[in-house]
Amino acid sequence: MQTRADADVPALAPPRLDYYGASHVGKVRERNEDHFAIMALQHSARLLLTNLDDTGMVQRLSRPDAHVFMAADGVGGLAGGEEASRLAVGTIMEYLSEAASCYRGTDVGQEQEFMDRLSAGVERAHRRLIETYGAERGPATTLTMVTLVWPRAYVVHVGDSRGYVLRRGRLRQFTADQTMGDLYVNIGRGSEEQAEKLGLYNILSSAVGTDMAPVVGVVDLEPDDVLLVCTDGLTNHVPDARITELLAAAPDAESACRELVDAALAGGGRDNVTVIVARFAPASG
């Protein structure tokens, strides 16, 4: 279990942000091939001295502009999968810290540029994996990255890790799994049952480090929403209804993460499990 912090998110009447992330090796695997990161992006001036009495401005200058939540589930056997997810998350963190000045406003071009930078971080991780391990049969990783510039969540998604939002008691998945099973059904080759029987849901159709087709999207969040980013070690073991109950009942993000990981372990724990929860409680005072 790692990472705990509370912070205010900037922008329009931002709610109080409570977030936490947890990753567990599970009950069967020897290695944890999942990695996650939660980052604050800050691209602002630091006030050293002033006689201005606008304390609000001083506060705004010291706040992060955006938060990034990302989870990656490596595949590739031996140490490959572990290295792939580590390299991908590390490379994206490095890229974003160098390149992601924060977008704020309504200009379509600037917003698109911001989204392009987020995608470029994933592209860089993809290239680095290929440079390191070669383009064929090298390790690869899923990657679900949510960048929050309140209230907008920008999503870049590759593979079968998932992003959900819990709003007014309803859990909705905003990512679509990229597996051969999903592709098989989507292009009308066969049914979900056939895809299941062929084991196609265990094979990624898109992954960082191999054939990659990132999907980009946005979700506008509301106060009281709960954001969940997770690897399939959770969703293969815990049904959506149970995830909903646990997220709704938890008093804070840390408890939610612990409960979700425990539920995955109780459900079998055959895979590594990683969860990131962010809650957006209305700002007080």
């Binding site: 309504t106 200009d107 379509v108 071009g109 917003e111 698109q112 989204m115 209230p151 907008r152 969540a153 999503v155 939002v165 909705r172 998945q173 905003f174 679509a176 059904v185 989507n186 292009i187 009308g188 999907v215 980009v216 999207g217 946005v218 979700v219 506008d220």
Partner: protein
């Protein structure tokens, strides 16, 4: 390159995502997965010698309990309304959707796609319905994301109108 945001707007299940899939990836799936939030695709097309990068915002469909969030529509240069020609209610909701869009971005180039035209036997719209669209100032095209009929035409017509409406190009 010229870059334009095109919003896909319509009731749930009218085929907005399928139209984008057909236009961008030349694919069609019978499987229905509802969009949550917005899925963003892009396609560069050529319009009268100009390269235009269309940013296609496939916005989750409006349902009875949920309005289309206007925040997604902000900054749109064009809107493609999608109705399901086999479900009359999806057509009847267009005026409301149009009011919402107009109150957010004003009068931007717009087109109505009457989708699922391949399902001719189930077609629920009358000639009068379709004839009323030009009177309301809306160009329309019958489309089928399944066969591809009308899909390219719809996006190309919209791109052409967007360029024509662009004050920086006059």
């Amino acid at each position: 390159m010229i870059q334009k945001k095109v919003c896909m707007v319509g009731v749930q299940g009218t085929g907005k995502t399928s139209m984008v899939q057909r236009f961008v990836h030349s694919l069609f799936s019978e499987r229905y997965l509802s969009t949550v939030g917005v899925k963003i695709d892009r396609k560069v097309i050529s319009v009268a010698g100009d390269e235009v990068n269309l940013l296609l915002w496939d916005i989750e469909g409006r349902s009875q309990e949920q309005e289309v969030p206007t925040s997604y529509i902000r900054g749109a240069h064009a809107v493609l309304y999608v109705a399901d020609g086999t479900r009359r209610t999806t057509f009847e909701q267009l005026p409301q959707l149009r009011d919402l869009v107009r109150s957010t971005v004003g009068d931007v180039p717009s087109l109505v796609a009457l989708n699922k035209a391949d399902l001719a036997e189930q077609w629920a719209l009358t000639r009068g319905d379709e004839a009323a669209l030009p009177d309301a100032g809306l160009h329309h095209v019958r489309t089928s994301a399944k066969t591809g009929a009308g899909v390219e035409d719809a996006f190309h017509w919209l791109a052409k109108e967007v360029l024509r409406a662009d004050p920086s190009r006059r």
